[in-house]
Amino acid sequence: MRFSFVATRKYWYTFSGIYIALAIIAMFVWGFKPGIDFTGGALLEVKYEGTRPNPTQVHELLTPMQLGQIVVQPVDEANMLLRLPFISQQQHDEVFKKLDELNGEAGISEIRYETIGPSISKELRKNAITGIIVVMLLTILYIAFVFRKVGKPVSSWIFGLTLVGKALLHDVALPAGIMAVFGYYMGYEIDTLFVVALLTILGFSVNDTIATFDRIRETLTRAPKATFAETVDDSIYQTLARSINTSVTIILAMLAVYLFGGETIKNFMLMLIIGMVASAYSSVFIAAPLLVDFARLAAVRKK
């Protein structure tokens, strides 16, 4: 007897249910730390050529300027990262001069500097939320359209909703939850790239699932099996190799960037990797079996 995905689905639902619940709890309890993209403000990273002062010294140095709340964080061996409220160009120059003087002769160099004014950060927030909603809606519509010829045992809308539902509640929720944990323990802040990662995972989880759904559709129209459950199981098997391999190649590519690529996108890549792995798993173990359950529900209702 070969292993049946559909028959064993209760185990998978429970297993996934647990970690998803944890992820969602993490998100609600700890929330996300918004970075300057969404709060506005300034980010200054400097490198000390000589000895690096400690954060308390920097705080004392800058308090008389009355700029507002400053967070000072040593980074790597010689760098210092400062987070400040939105400051003007002149204020930046003053801050830089003071930081430089603190080091005497050795001096400092500016690695990067970013400011985001309040009007821009407001727009980013708005765009982020709009983007997520739009992607979800369009994907549902697109899938419903593609699967429109399939009337039974589940309507095309169910295909679309299942797909987007699993994408949102599983593939996206897991990396987001993990980032909430990072935020709480390591101070990781969300920025525009975080939202981009969410949108990308959302979009690409469709990729994974659609091959299986496609096969289900094809089998239903050409050579349906005795029960819907059997059709689904067969389709999963037939597309298993493809699902796994596709995910493997994408994950390989992303691992290369995560391990060997630049610092600035490490967390972005990590989210994508987690999302893709989650997506590969959920396409096979969650999404397709869910269709069977929805079919049962639809059948019960008709009676």
């Binding site: 160099s109 970013e114 979009g203 659609i210 091959a211 596709t246 690529g261």
Partner: protein, 683 residues
């Protein structure tokens, strides 16, 4: 169906297609990596004496996070613009001016674009590879705002009832305060100085401490009411009732009368230093003091004027440093003290003020009675306190946009440097109207919100020429004309966002991204080889072609590559194989169903198409939304990913299929080696 498909794929047509593909690859490789070619060509020239030419193609366009540089967003204040149509024109004008400024700074490939979000107009400036970002920002930001204004009718609005009530209330409280102070002195017998410190609202400018001593009051004192009180009261007396003057309530104490200098005639020499506002000197502070100390040894009452005209950095230098007659309360404290304390005919030692270091020569003085007064001052509220400050100057349409040219000129009489302005046709007209309207009245020239000149209009000016006079040094005049010529901004701008990446971080990111790219490509190829064997090899070759094609597209458009963009490209490599995998799995399916190899291959390509189309469409939808959503960082990612997805589909369908068809005749039915799948059911 199969037969129809077979005929176009005769051997020779396949061969031709393959040769064309190889040719294409060579061309694209040269286009993508001309430096490698050039290096080999030079090496060849060294070794063998002849070269194969050099290629000159533009390099890849790299984003700021790979090259270092600055990304600035300026928001344009469009409120002054009267109508909607002219808003876009005005914003374009701002963009042009900023671009001129940026170009003058000598940045390679700067980007200056307008951008509109809702009703906010912005100008986005990208300065790649700039090392001194601060100087660039300063020079952009410094672009002066030139405005011409005429006297507006001061709109004296009557106060609202509520404001009148508040005014009365505040003055009532003020009176109560001063009365209380007087009571403390009279009834409770507390000493004047003590009560004064507690109640007075008058402060020392420097340290904001309460100032009770009002100094020496003579008939030259600007506050006439105070002088009147001083002369009408005997020394030692205190106001019996609170005085009610025009702008304040007060209680004074007369502390004695003496004869002293009430007016002084003096000359001075000023040496200012770097950092003092409006100072043209490049001396450091210590150098300035030294110079003045040196001068002090040389100076005498006879040669003071001469030395002043040569060395003094003040506007009075022309007149030998002569300041004429002045009374107290007209100069800054340090200067006043020095001048008044000197004996007649004496020259002071060097002393410091906010303007720099001075030497003062007291030529003459007038003596007179001066009264020492101290007082408790409480603010008296007037209607003006409740009104918005009346801007006496009204904006005209004439401004920096109409300026054609500005030059440095010399005044015919004094020989002092001036700045001449010339307006364009429209400006000429406007200027003629303005001068006609304001004959014998002053007109103000504002630079960056401050008045720099306020000439009185003598006659109607129709030739569109104007002159800004003032205490310009030649250096100041030159700088102003340069700034005006580089473009006076039609509208004010504000820096609302900036992002700067140091060149070192940029270079690091680039190197790392490239390394990750190679490794990613290698990993994917290894996997494909391992799992799909021969066809995996074909797919890998197709992948290399795909990479060349996509890179050429990036260079050709050109797409600006950022860290996220390169990541998107690497991601698309992972996805490019996806289409191939779909096809290969279908082929295996067909084999399992019993078809012969070359049939299975053809069927595989055909059957896989719907899946490929659907999944890549979904990916494209995401890319489109990301592109719309984003900042340049996000757009880079969306663009490279999107181009990659489209190219990968084409690559799988055309290139892999071409390879597969070409190779089919050489294969037998042993699928395990070929594609890693099951052999035919027969076996």
């Amino acid at each position: 169906m199969l037969n129809i498909q077979e005929s176009p794929n005769t051997r020779s047509s396949l061969r031709t297609k393959l040769y064309l593909l190889v040719l294409l690859c060579v061309v694209l490789a040269l286009f993508d990596f001309p430096t490698a070619y050039n290096r080999s060509s030079s090496w060849l020239k060294d070794k063998a004496g002849f070269g194969i030419g050099q290629l000159h193609f533009n390099p890849f366009r790299l984003g700021l996070d790979l090259v270092g540089g600055a990304h600035l967003v300026y928001e344009v204040d469009t409120r002054p613009v009267p109508t909607d149509e002219s808003v876009t024109d005005a914003v374009d004008g701002v963009r042009n001016v900023i671009e001129r400024r940026v170009n003058a700074f000598g940045v390679a490939e700067p980007v200056v674009q307008t951008n509109r979000v809702g009703d906010k107009h912005r100008v986005i400036v990208e300065l790649p590879g700039v090392t001194d970002v601060k100087a660039a920002i300063d020079s952009i930001g410094k672009t002066p705002l030139l405005e011409f204004k005429e006297i507006g009718e001061a709109e004296v609005k009557p106060l609202t009832d509520e404001q009148k009530k508040e005014l009365a209330q505040k003055n009532k409280e003020a009176r109560e305060k001063i009365t209380k102070a007087l009571a403390e002195i009279n009834k409770k017998k507390r000493p004047f100085a003590e009560v004064a410190k507690e109640y007075t609202e008058f402060q020392n400018d420097k340290d904001k401490q309460p100032l009770v001593d009002l100094g020496l009051v003579s008939d030259k004192h600007p506050d006439k009411e105070l002088y009147a009180w001083a002369t009408s009261h005997k020394p030692g007396t205190v106001s019996r009732v609170p005085e009610e003057f025009k702008s304040y309530f007060a209680i004074f104490q007369h502390n004695g009368t003496s004869q002293g200098p009430v007016e002084v005639k003096a000359r001075h020499i000023l040496i200012c230093y770097e950092g003092v506002p409006q100072c043209v000197s490049t001396l450091k502070k210590e150098e300035a003091l030294k110079k003045l100390q040196e001068l002090r040894t040389q100076v005498t009452p006879e040669n003071f004027a001469a030395l002043a005209s040569v060395h003094s950095m003040d506007g009075s230098a022309q007149a030998g440093g002569d300041l004429g007659w002045f009374g107290r309360n007209q100069m800054v404290a340090e200067f006043e003290n020095a001048a008044f304390d000197l004996k007649k005919g004496e020259i002071s030692q060097p002393f410091e003020s906010q303007f720099g270091y001075h030497l003062v020569y007291k030529e003459d003085e007038k003596l007179g009675p001066q009264h020492k007064v101290s007082g408790i001052i409480v603010k008296r509220w007037t209607e003006d306190d409740f009104r918005e400050p009346v801007s006496e100057w009204k904006n005209t349409q004439l401004g920096g946009a109409h300026l054609v040219r500005s030059v440095v000129q010399y005044d015919q009489n004094s020989g002092l440097p001036q700045v001449g302005l010339q307006f364009d046709d429209e400006g000429k007209k406007l200027f003629a109207e303005i001068t006609k309207r304001n004959l014998q009245k002053p007109v103000a020239i504002f630079l960056d919100g401050e008045i720099i000149s306020q000439p009185t209009v003598q006659s109607e000016i129709t030739n569109g020429e104007a002159v800004i006079t003032g205490s310009f040094s030649l250096k100041d005049a030159k700088q102003l004309t340069q700034e005006l010529n580089a473009g006076a901004l039609p509208l004010p701008v504000e820096l609302v966002s900036q992002s700067r990446v140091g060149a070192s971080l940029g270079a690091q990111s680039l190197a790392k991204s490239l390394r990750a790219g190679f490794i990613g490509l290698a990993l994917v190829c290894i996997f494909m080889l391992a799992y799909y064997r021969l066809f995996g090899l074909l797919a890998s070759l197709a992948l290399l072609v795909y990479a060349l094609v996509v890179l050429s597209v990036f260079k050709f458009i050109p797409v600006t590559l950022t860290v996220a963009g390169i990541a998107g490209f690497i991601l698309s490599i992972g996805m490019a194989v996806d289409a191939n995998i779909l096809i290969f799995e279908r082929i295996k399916d067909e084999r399992r169903a019993g078809r012969r190899l070359h049939t299975a291959i053809e069927e595989g390509f055909v059957r896989a198409w719907p899946s490929i189309r659907d999944s890549n469409n979904a990916a494209l939808i995401t890319c489109v939304i990301l592109y719309w959503f984003g900042t340049s960082v996000v757009r880079g990612f969306a663009l490279t990913l999107g181009i990659g997805v489209v190219a990968s589909v084409l690559s799988a369908i055309f290139i892999t299929r071409l390879f597969a068809r070409f190779v089919v005749p050489y294969l037998d039915e042993h699928t395990r080696v070929i594609i890693g799948g099951p052999d035919t059911p027969k076996e």
